[in-house]
Symmetry: C2
Subunit: 232 residues, 2 copies
Amino acid sequence: MPMTPSPSPHRDIPAATVSRLPTYLRALHSAAAQGVTTVSSGQLATAAGVLPTQLRKDLSHLGSHGVRGVGYDVARLIVEITSALGLGRDWPVAIVGMGNLGRALTAYSGFGTEGFHVVAVLDRDPALVGERVAGLTVRHIDELPTLVAELGIAIGVLATPADGAQAAADALVAAGIEAILTFAPAALALPPGVSLRRVDLATELHVLAFLRHGGAGIGASVSDLAKVGVAG
Amino acid sequence: MPMTPSPSPHRDIPAATVSRLPTYLRALHSAAAQGVTTVSSGQLATAAGVLPTQLRKDLSHLGSHGVRGVGYDVARLIVEITSALGLGRDWPVAIVGMGNLGRALTAYSGFGTEGFHVVAVLDRDPALVGERVAGLTVRHIDELPTLVAELGIAIGVLATPADGAQAAADALVAAGIEAILTFAPAALALPPGVSLRRVDLATELHVLAFLRHGGAGIGASVSDLAKVGVAG
DNA sequence: GAATGTGAACTCCTTCACAGCA
DNA sequence: TGCTGTGAAGGAGTTCACATTC
């Protein structure tokens, strides 16, 4: 056994790079829609709000796909990033928690791109079960295992209040879901192997308050928190 | 000119620390509500989902406020973090874009804590102006300067589609708002001195897809993207 | 000439080890 | 003894400089 096992197909793409690739992909789709076939790192970088060197370094992790003196082929780069992110398939999504936020996310068009589809919406409150939200019928959280098996749900979105979040997360994990996006302002305890991403709306406001309060104006003193715009 | 100007009142709190302080604050409020008066770094850290050393290092940027061998006084630490974040005042918020997401954010209770209050909701579509959303009347975007002056709006939230985001951001800036939280999947060009935070829902799903696709299961290969739970 | 790809320097953040104090 | 506070080490990410290629 001389070599490392390497069970994973992706070759060591830095986390920071992965989180920027979707932005690049969006800019590329936009360019393609306008008939552009080739872009330079400078053009793509300004469209994405990063520096050209950052973009080239990021893309270098996917391999060399640009042409020196020319730039990148838009169509080819779309394929490359799509493949690297694993977007070449369907990703059925379930949303748990049909309060204001859950309903909005269900209807949010941004969730319906690149193979992501909300295929099930659930709540623990029997009074909500049976209601229609954006064309889907609200199901009870206890039906989750059945729905996962039937619909191949791969990603769970938590839009519950903080106090119900852990129970909802447990239900997702018990049903076999291993990728969770949570909007609940609570720390979640999850078994190893389950991927978790958190979006905390209150925290975002708090950080903005700090930036104003602290006076991070011209020449912002806090490095990366506030990104002021790049000319585009 | 031998010394640096240092125009800003807050004493150099790292960006990464600032983004975690709201989580600590929430955990402290929760502890206080349960009658807890003292917490150790270990307790608070698990409640917040970080390591104890991380928490202590973060708090050390606010000064030494713990007692060795004992822990932190909950009430005092709340005051300290609240003050550091600049949360000791009101932060009137305006939300621009009354689609699904904008309406949900307006009604979202998580936006109504710690001095944050949604005091105005706006849209550029005259057909929506005059509608009621969560107790507020939708105003036209052209009324923004008046509303900022009257209500002291300090933070703008963008919940528009991507194609209207830049125009809406320009309107916020023209009205004097210097802190923007955007949900629009678009790069924004802003003048220096304006603070911007971005929440990108599609990107979060893409990252989760990458983690599943890449097989970041046991012993996740991508460092920081997925945080699996800590025992609580 | 023009733009990519990348080693190296630099900055930032996290984790460790342990000193300091109640 | 227990827990905080912190210098130092280690790791990750960004930016720079420049060699490389079309």
